[in-house]
Symmetry: C2
Subunit: 164 residues, 2 copies
């Protein structure tokens, strides 16, 4: 029998990825697990603690996706965008939120920063700028902020070219 905690996290992740953050209520998570909402509080202190688990998952899997990319900025950027578009709700939860870094597994944040930092040859300021560029591109795309029908590929390559 799988741990309840893991069942809860799995149910929350399914709901999040399927229908977004507001579909992931404590009651809907509980229902998916086959339990009533208050019982979740026997395993997690509050909803934020469940979301923290999802953040760790998102950060980890995103890091793996970036590490699996070919070296260089453009492949890294493509991997970044692919992950965000494939799992938009998880990406949002993972990145577009205050980061409770005190509660994160030791070293995860640094590891996540690694691929971009290496693509920029260890220059932290440039790496931050590139990270912001990628994050901004993804968020604006996910939020439907670019003009409808706009081809974003040229913007990505223009950005990557500028930073190289």
């Amino acid at each position: 029998m799988v741990e309840r905690r893991e069942q809860i996290v799995a149910a929350a992740l399914e709901l999040l990825e399927a229908d977004g953050r507001e579909a992931m209520s404590m009651r809907s998570i509980a229902e998916r697990v086959g339990v009533r909402a208050p019982s979740l509080y026997k395993h997690f202190p509050d909803k934020a603690a469940v979301e923290l688990e999802l953040t760790v998952i998102g950060l980890t899997e995103m890091t793996e996706a970036l590490e699996a990319a070919e070296p260089g900025l453009l492949p890294c950027a493509r991997a970044y965008r692919s992950f965000a578009l494939a799992r938009p709700h998880l990406y949002r939860l993972t990145t577009a939120n205050p980061l409770p870094r005190l509660l994160l597994p030791e070293g995860l944040e640094d590891r996540a920063a690694g691929p971009i930092l290496r693509a920029m040859h260890g220059r932290a300021d440039l790496a931050r700028a590139v990270w912001a560029f990628a994050h901004g591109m993804v968020m604006l795309e996910l939020d439907g902020r670019f003009p409808p029908g706009a081809d974003l590929e040229p913007a990505w390559t223009a950005g990557c070219t500028a930073f190289q």
Copy 2:
């Protein structure tokens, strides 16, 4: 006597800027106006309609801030960041949201895009990349995503230099 509609929008804006989006409930808006929450629905069809007014205000004032900047990318970027840091909750509501562009005043979106587009000499792809860079920098900063104590000034200048 000022229009009720304007009172409501003003109250909503005050609550938003003072304490963030979740402090801006229909009940708290109503209380500030001196009325009960259901009465708001005599003036707006729903909360989204109130938020739309705030989005228009935010977009307009941000556009004016950018237009007031010296020409060139770096001054434009500084103005962008200054606005976002000075009015973080309004910035969030205005930009980190699906944009109901059908309901926006005609031409506002294009006008908002103008300053950055001019700074990039009319090259749309580069302008989009720069916009994403600035938006990403601001969002990551507002969300406390950069390492605590990190000096972001070099990242901004590195980005602006790369795009110039």
